[in-house]
């Protein structure tokens, strides 16, 4: 995106917010903070200005630093509310705590190309947490056995998907869809944070696990140099230093 287009975009957004503040209420001016997200979003969509690589590196570092500071602040406020004030924080707080961690884990593992490992971690974590939560909440009451069954099923499906991704992957996606229908379609309106949190914690993990297993590469990658290898080439140093004296 050219500098002129970027300038126009910022101008149009600022003018819209200003008009909104005039027409509606002055607090709408706080929406100006949204402008801080424009550049990162443009970069994510590969529409940012072709800045030089050191600037990009600095921006990435500042983003990482800001993330950790922000997370520490959220955690401190959460713990203060829970432990010092003795109040159970609202669902918004749990969303603030979980969403960054989940996104970060997915992004890191996905970028590292370890999609299968991501599937295993997600599946085991979601099945394990579900089982632990239901056991701690209901113990071994007969009426709650179906709830334990969900956690156990998720763990089994993850194990199946680890060995047979084409079978386990779709089953996990179906499990995610079933959990969505069961738990998320009848949530009370008026609490969007709760709705997002429920979707994030219940149907999304098995759904994402299934997708991760389906996307994971199967079989061994083709050895491009297989034809050039000698069968008994057992040189312990494949790239010997030419300057080394023999």
């Amino acid at each position: 995106m050219s500098k002129k287009a970027r300038f126009l975009l910022y101008g149009a957004l600022s003018a819209s917010i200003l008009l909104l503040a005039i027409a509606w209420k002055v607090e709408a001016l706080l929406l100006l903070f949204v402008l801080a997200l424009v550049d990162p979003l443009l970069r994510m969509m590969r529409l940012g200005t072709a800045g030089d690589e050191r600037s990009c590196w600095i921006e990435i570092q500042s983003g990482s630093f800001s993330f950790h500071v922000l997370y520490a602040v959220i955690l401190a406020l959460f713990l203060h509310k829970l432990l010092v004030l003795g109040r159970n924080p609202e669902s918004d707080w749990y969303l603030l705590l979980f969403l960054p961690l989940i996104l970060r884990a997915i992004f890191l593992l996905g970028k590292k190309g370890e999609v299968r490992r991501l599937g295993l971690i997600l599946g085991a974590a979601c099945g394990g947490f579900w089982l632990l939560f239901s056991l701690l909440s209901h113990g071994l009451q007969r009426g709650a056995l179906w709830e334990h069954g969900i956690g156990i099923s998720l763990l089994i499906l993850t194990a199946v998907a680890w060995g047979l991704p084409l079978l386990g992957g779709p089953l996990l996606i179906l499990a995610g869809a079933a959990l969505f229908v069961q738990f998320c379609t009848r949530l009370p309106a008026g609490n969007p944070a709760m709705q997002v949190l429920m979707i994030l914690l219940l149907p999304l993990p098995p759904f994402a696990t299934g997708i991760a297993f389906l996307l994971s590469p199967r079989g061994k990658t083709k050895d491009e140099f297989a034809d050039f290898r000698e069968p008994d080439a057992g040189d312990p140093d494949p790239c010997p230093d030419p300057r080394r004296k023999i």
């Binding site: 030089d52 690589e53 050191r54 600037s55 590196w57």
Partner: protein, 69 residues
């Protein structure tokens, strides 16, 4: 990692940081940071610099034995 960007700029008729930056497509500050050793350039930029100086990458950027990046 040490580098000889300043030396090569001198060899090229005391080429300015701004001109070098323009030739390789980065900012002058990036060239200054590389010269001071505060920033390690990408392979792409290292090759671009080498082409401008008509030198090899290894003659500009020197990684000493046992040195971590």
């Amino acid at each position: 990692m040490t580098n000889k960007v300043r030396f090569h700029r001198f060899i090229c008729g005391e080429m300015s940081q701004s001109l070098l930056a323009e030739k390789v497509g980065v900012s002058r500050q990036t060239i200054a940071a590389i010269e001071k050793g505060n920033y390690s350039p990408s392979v792409w930029l290292a090759i671009r610099l080498a082409r401008v100086f008509h030198a090899s990458v290894e003659s500009i950027f020197i990684l000493e034995e046992g040195q971590n990046v």
